[in-house]
Symmetry: C2
Subunit: 241 residues, 2 copies
């Protein structure tokens, strides 16, 4: 049977990981579009697209023929359908805030999707300044909702929801793919990293991650920016073992 | 009586304009925090903030003591409260997609919030490439929902909602503050620009704009990046009168 959802994204985790984590955690099957189809949909003029969209991830929901772009819009939509939103206006809005924060961290980690390349100096500044700020912010938000390294959820909900899975898709994937950052992340945001690992280690997500690792190795955001990131990480790790 | 909502943002339109347009259009009163309060809240450690947030705009809703950051989260929350969301899962998600697109246009117009400065060359490329792409995308999305230069709404809803007001807050403000761009914007996205002007010219929004112009003049995003933008716009306008 044809899956209800198709995800159009490059064959890497990065911004596509959020939809994949939500679908996998909820036990929902989906199809991954071929990289060629992703590229041609991305390059097409808005008039020739099934729906006017700038950059992947794109989600197609066959039910109602809904097309979406923008990671937070996709995650919020899937969260609604899969029963993973908290369900109160304030906590649903807070979930959107967290998705926006996750998107901003991805931008920060990639110098705005590769608008610049990392240098040892800019990376040093980032790891002393903006990255710890983001980690403190996530940790503080989780702790205020009762999250500890051993238990709890990111927004204090009874069950993990979109915000928890977004943390796992962001931080859990960085822990997987950029191991040189583990000491810093675990030290600065112990409860958030433990939550991310707990979710990433649930059997369906563990299977997803193993499959991705088998196909894509340690690719994270790909491109020249990933090469630049790995380059500075190597130097930085030698100084911060 | 103390207003229910307080908006914390710099004294400029830019990312603060979305919440202001929604509140004003809905006839809801709100307080603007002093610039000093915005700055101190922005600089505070997450542990000392009423709520862990990275960068303005911040919204405080006294009812329920809800704090939010991230423009799309704020706009979605206000849209829910003010009755300005379409109200179906697909169109609500599409509204979030539009808010994400608006945020991306602001980032593109400011070289990622001033991460780089404009040069005549990068601006020339932007106005031949990415800016027309964004304009085509918005125009195509509106036209597919029946929007024309004379009538209609951005998502085909019976009344203007968050997506329409977001268009006005984005494109209408650019038309106001960066008049050198008017010919390009009106030529590439006539229906979207007409919608933006129609909404911006409704009496409450016209009063808001007049008050902002009296206080802030033609400031748009402020800072060195606005100086750089105005610089390249002057050269570009001389070549594209």
């Amino acid at each position: 049977m044809q899956a209800r959802f198709t995800l159009y994204y490059w064959p890497i985790p990065f911004r596509g990981q959020f939809a994949r984590y939500l679908l996998t955690y909820a036990g929902e099957d989906w199809a991954e579009a071929d990289a060629e189809d992703v590229a041609s949909l991305y390059r097409a003029d808005p008039a020739d697209q099934p729906f006017p969209m700038m950059a992947p991830p794109f989600l197609h929901d066959r039910e109602g023929d809904v097309w979406l772009s923008q990671m937070p819009a996709i995650a919020n939509y899937l969260g609604d359908i899969l029963g993973l939103m908290p369900g109160t206006p304030a906590q649903d809005a807070l979930t959107l805030k967290v998705l926006g924060d996750c998107n901003d961290v991805l931008e920060a980690m990639t110098c705005n999707s590769g608008a610049a390349m990392w240098t040892d100096d800019t990376w040093e500044t980032f790891t002393e300044d903006r990255l710890p700020e983001w980690l403190n912010l996530f940790e503080e938000l989780g702790q205020r909702h009762g999250l500890t390294p051993d238990a709890g959820t990111f927004l204090g909900t009874a069950q993990p929801g979109v915000a928890d899975l977004a943390c796992a898709a962001l931080w859990g994937t960085i822990l997987d793919k950029l191991p040189a950052l583990r000491p810093l992340l675990n030290a600065q945001a112990p409860a958030v990293m433990a939550l991310s690992r707990r979710l990433a280690d649930t059997p369906p997500l563990a299977r997803l991650r193993a499959g991705q690792a088998a196909r894509w190795g340690d690719l994270w955001c790909a491109g020249q920016i990933e090469a630049s990131l790995r380059d500075v990480l190597t130097h930085w790790h030698d100084k911060n073992p």
